[in-house]
């Protein structure tokens, strides 16, 4: 079974910097922040998932709800 989490080592100085940076923000931990930043940086290289305009997306969501697929 694949584990959901795995550790990564980063320099302590960097860790402390991040700790400072996230004080008072929505991020509850350095890991949460690092996860978000890394994901964002990686997904820039992923294919764009924004196939639908915001308006289309709302319309489709409503339809999928009525059809029972979501919510």
């Amino acid at each position: 079974m694949e584990k959901e989490f795995t550790p990564v080592s980063i320099p302590t100085s960097l860790y402390k910097k991040i700790e400072e940076k996230i004080k008072g923000t929505e991020f509850s931990s350095v890991s949460s922040y690092v996860t978000k930043v890394l994901r964002e940086s990686l997904s820039k290289n992923e294919e764009n998932k924004e196939v639908f305009s915001a308006e289309e997306e709302e319309k489709i969501k409503e339809r999928l709800k009525a059809l029972g697929y979501i919510d």
């Binding site: 694949e2 509850s28 890991s31 978000k36 999928l64 009525a66 979501i70």
Partner: protein, 456 residues
């Protein structure tokens, strides 16, 4: 000359409505008598997206990274994306055939919007926002179709209490589909012709309670009692007309992506999570409020859920979610403990449920994309999951977001008719078997890593 294959996809067609009533369906009966047929175990989750792509690629939802119609975007709380054709990265059977220079015609195989290039022709599926969009490949095909048959009808308007209107729309849509299919079948070159009729699914969801005597809302003598079997007879006739248009070297596969059964109700999973203390809100939910709009105190919330035919449960984990509170080292224990509580949920009258809880990391050999922490089939899928909440009860008699009398079931159908083979056999199969079976039948390449077995 190489064989050809016509795949007749009937979204949601259920064994009891085909095999048990086959005496009323002469064209399907002919195929059954001369071919192999059986129940087809769908994937987990047994939902339209990903099921058709599991069939087309031979890869399971974990490999595809597709777990339904929507997914979280990363680990943020309120960002999501809607499944569409670009999310399918694995090769399909028509990609493999295309590499051999062989053509396919694909009509409405979900998800096929936006239309992706294919060696052959393609019309997109019901997730197409409207027929105003480019919905064909090549783009010119759209005009060719519209000149002859008008704009392609992708779906019906479902949220309505006017069932007669829904029914007439379903028939008009299916008529339109079969006209287009009949034309493409004769006019285009193809080795593989694959279409999916979504009307079957829609007629189930809108009319199941009128037919099923065991349904809690069934009323004897109601005017819609025979709507579903009548529609199957109509489909059988339409299928018969298509079969007259193909030659005798054409093999035929009739197949569904999952089955259907009566819905017992909708379970408000987020109300339950609030009651259990896993989900903490800063303001009490309004009646019918969606979890997406709920005022959640993330600093005290451990889990939340999404609705649909199955529930997706997400844990709020430190180091993953922005304001996660479950420590990574406690993740497995917290999840097991929640899974156990979910399995113990009972019905509205205290009756036991056969709830299935799946851990994606254990269930799929390979895991991609934005999977949930837990997948839950309440009472073996009889109870759908409501994402909305605040009704004053966790148990809803009807779907939270509109009329819906049926839920999905694990087992769909297949009928495989191969003109070169003797038939009349019954043999159950798995949805993963479809891709290797198609490739073998059409003498396509041997694809390594497909787990399914050839149906023969």
């Amino acid at each position: 000359m190489k064989k050809r294959l016509l795949v007749i996809g009937l979204d949601c067609a259920a064994p009891a409505l085909v095999f048990d009533r086959v005496a009323e369906l002469p064209n399907l009966k002919k195929l059954m008598d001369a071919g192999i047929h059986g129940k087809l175990r769908s994937c987990d989750p047994p939902i339209t997206i990903p099921a058709w792509m599991v069939m087309a690629t031979g890869r399971d939802p974990g490999q595809l990274g597709l777990y339904g119609f929507r997914h979280r975007r990363g680990y943020e709380y309120n960002k999501m994306w809607i499944a569409n054709s670009t999310a399918v990265k694995e090769k399909t059977v028509w990609d493999y055939l295309g590499e051999q220079g062989r053509e396919s015609v694909l009509v409405s195989v979900p998800p096929s919007y936006p239309p992706k290039p294919v060696r052959g022709k393609l019309i997109s599926c019901f997730i197409t926002p409207s027929s105003e969009q480019a919905y064909t490949y090549p783009a010119e095909l759209r005009q060719e179709i519209e000149e002859r048959f008008g704009p392609f009808r992708f779906d019906v308007t479902f949220r309505t209490e006017d069932r007669s209107q829904v029914l007439s729309e379903i028939y008009q849509m299916t008529e339109n589909h079969f006209e287009v299919i009949g034309y493409l079948l004769q006019d285009k070159n193809w080795s593989l012709f694959w279409f999916v009729e979504i009307g079957v699914d829609r007629v189930h969801h809108a009319f199941w309670k009128f037919m099923d005597r065991d349904h809690h809302l069934y009323e004897p003598g109601n005017p819609y009692e025979t709507v579903i079997p009548d529609y199957y007879r109509f489909l059988d006739e339409k299928i018969g007309q298509l079969l007259e248009k193909v030659d005798d070297r054409t093999a035929v596969l009739v197949v569904s992506d999952h089955g259907a059964k009566r819905m017992k109700g909708a379970f408000c999973v987020n109300d339950w999570l609030i009651e259990q203390g896993d989900l903490v809100v800063t303001e009490p939910p309004q009646r019918g409020e969606s979890v997406d709009k709920l005022k959640i105190d993330w600093t005290r919330t451990r889990a939340w859920g999404w609705g649909g035919y199955y529930a997706r449960i997400f844990l709020n984990v430190e180091g993953r979610e922005p304001q996660g509170i479950i420590r990574p080292e406690d993740y497995e224990a917290a999840r097991d403990e929640l899974a156990e509580r979910l399995r113990a949920i009972r019905g509205p009258r205290g009756e036991e449920w056969k709830t299935v809880v799946i851990k994606p990391q254990e269930h799929y050999p390979e895991l991609n994309g934005e999977y949930p922490d837990l997948m839950v089939y309440f009472d073996d899928l009889y109870w759908r999951s409501a994402g909305t909440l605040g009704y004053g009860t966790m148990y809803l008699e009807e779907n939270d977001t509109g009329p819906d009398d049926a839920v999905h079931d694990y087992e769909g159908i297949y009928i495989l008719y191969d003109p070169k083979k003797k038939g009349g056999r019954e043999q159950d199969a798995n949805i993963l078997d479809i891709a290797p079976t198609i490739l073998r039948l059409l003498e396509g390449p041997e694809v390594p890593g497909l787990r399914g077995k050839v149906i023969e």
